[in-house]
Amino acid sequence: MIELKNITKQFKAGKPIFSEVNDTFKKGEFIGLTGPNGSGKTTFLRLLSVNSFPTSGRITYKNMNIHENPQEYLKDVGLVHDQESLPVHLSAVELLEWVLRSRKLWSDESPKQINNMFDRLSLKDDRNEQIGTYSTGMRKKTQVAAAFIVKPNVLILDEPLRGLDSSTRDEVADMLVDAKSGGTLTLMASHTADVEADFVDRVLEFPLS
């Protein structure tokens, strides 16, 4: 599904974060990324989410170079970014409406679908307040909801469970299992033992050797 061919990334010449990485991620696979701070997990996911470009090599999705066709690729991708940056003057409900409408996924059922998603993530009345007033955990829930609502083929998640309370973490874990069983390829970075969960098929240890 996603293939990495000789991927090297360095911010300074001669100091690669990782070099000549070759790998293939398949449909329905769950890849955990783990490693200490600064080992390259976020950079790796930023490359896969087209927020960063490789120094050399190429990444293909369905035989398409993702950095040459970002919009085509991102149609199939759900993202939870490392920062909790979101449009602050919209409510969480409005944000999901924006995401669905811009992807031509809006239907009469969508408001119910959005409310169900936030019920599941325990974002109660605040779902109708502006995101700028949210706590870190509430922003993370909004990001998770935005990533899942589009039913993506690829999920790229950078610390999606950080800042969430334990019951919501369990709920997100259930959502991840559901997505995996539906054939979604998931790449998730985490500092914690989340990557040791049963549903993780393979763990990439950073720094990559």
């Binding site: 919009q71 991708v77 970014h81 449009p87 003057h89 919209l90 409005e94 502006q130």
Partner: protein, 381 residues
């Protein structure tokens, strides 16, 4: 209107028009240039003192100030026919324009940077809550009392500048060109005094005001605002490919600042100008500058708070965002055209052909500014 071959009198009139509209621009744009400040975290880490913060506040307005001074220089000295004649008078007016703009900018920076405490009081106190409920009964849309100090600053700074231009023109008529500098000198002195007041308490004021603008999210979406907010189905004039983006951006911009009310003030000012029966060229210049002034909204929409870089890329393409920022400007074009048409029917200044030209200029400048703004945003994020 200014051209490279304009006479000295035309240059003076152009400069007055420029300063007149710059007053509105300074009054309106200053808080958006200053707050919320992304460098606040760095100042906390370094525990920067009043000198550093004062210099930083001035530096944040550098681009606007430099652009204005260059424009004033071009209006005064950009003379293709006789570049070396009347140099003394041209220099005098360049000095007048520079003092005027710098002074008013100083006043504006000082007032907005000190507005945090008062704004928070009105937003968070019981008195503010009472005021909100009373105003809600009288107005169609909810008004946040926290925005009242900013609104007062806008009116005061804009009004001060416009009155300054009028007094300067009156001095010119009564006593000659040198006396036109008096209001500009007055503004410069007042601006310097205001900034020195700010300097003595700049650390306290900076944190207070930055905190307020960081927390300023207006009214909640539940209740009255939910009934009045813009709906996707109302955007029949937007192509479906960008409709969701235009909707989300307009919704957020409407919550952030009252653009409609600001532009209404702009229309009233032009009508006031037209009532005084100026030369046709003067009124055309005013309409053109006002058309351009609308596009400050495009610059404001670049803020990451409306759509962070990763999110923009996730849900849209560069081409879409250029079109979106151009399209959000179309909602003012009908009001502009009608205002200009009715104005010309009553005061008889501007022909239909020129009105068409001004609307075309509005549309082309929206497209051009959107293209430049998006290119700049792409290059810097």
């Amino acid at each position: 209107m200014w051209t490279g071959t304009s006479s000295l009198t035309d240059r003076v009139i152009s400069l007055r028009m420029l300063l007149f509209f710059s007053s509105a621009l300074i009054a309106f744009i200053t808080p958006y240039l200053l707050f919320p400040d992304p460098y606040a975290v760095l100042f906390q880490l370094g525990n920067t003192g009043s000198g550093g913060i004062s210099r930083h506040l001035l530096k944040r307005t550098d681009a606007v100030w430099s652009g204005a001074i260059v424009t004033i220089g071009v209006v005064c000295f950009g003379d293709l026919n006789s570049p070396f004649t009347n140099l003394g008078i041209k220099a005098l007016y360049f000095g007048t324009g520079t003092l005027f703009f710098s002074g008013l900018m100083g006043i504006s920076i000082s007032r907005y940077a000190r507005s945090g405490d008062k704004s928070r009081f009105w937003k968070e106190s019981d008195r503010g809550r009472e005021l909100r409920s009373k105003m809600g009964e009288y107005f169609k849309y909810p008004i946040d009392p926290g925005s009242i100090p900013s609104f007062i600053n806008t009116v005061l700074v804009g009004g001060l500048g416009m009155i300054g231009v009028s007094i300067g023109a009156a001095f010119y008529g009564g006593y000659g060109p040198a006396f036109e500098m008096i209001p500009a000198l007055g503004l410069m002195l007042f601006g310097g005094f205001s900034l020195s007041r700010l300097h003595s308490q700049s650390v306290r004021n900076f944190y207070a005001t930055n905190a307020f603008f960081n927390e300023f999210f207006g009214e909640t979406i539940a209740g009255k605002e939910a009934e009045s907010k813009i709906q996707v189905k109302q955007l029949w004039w937007v192509p479906s490919a960008i409709k969701s983006h235009v909707w989300a951006l307009l919704l957020q911009l409407d919550r952030k600042f009252p653009a409609g009310r600001v532009l209404l003030v702009g229309h009233l000012l032009i009508w006031l100008l037209a009532y005084q029966r100026p030369a046709e060229q003067t009124l055309i210049s005013a309409w053109l500058l006002f058309a351009l002034f609308h596009h400050a909204i495009i610059i404001i929409s670049l803020s990451e708070e409306y759509a962070p870089a990763w999110f923009r890329q996730w849900i849209g393409s560069m081409t879409q965002w250029i079109l979106v920022r151009m399209w959000i400007q179309l909602r003012w074009v009908l009001i502009l055209a009608v205002s200009m048409w009715v104005n010309s029917l009553i005061f008889g200044h501007v022909s239909y052909a020129v009105q068409g030209g001004i609307i075309t200029f509005y549309l082309l400048s929206a497209a051009f500014i959107s293209l430049c703004a998006n290119t700049y945003q792409k290059a810097t994020t």
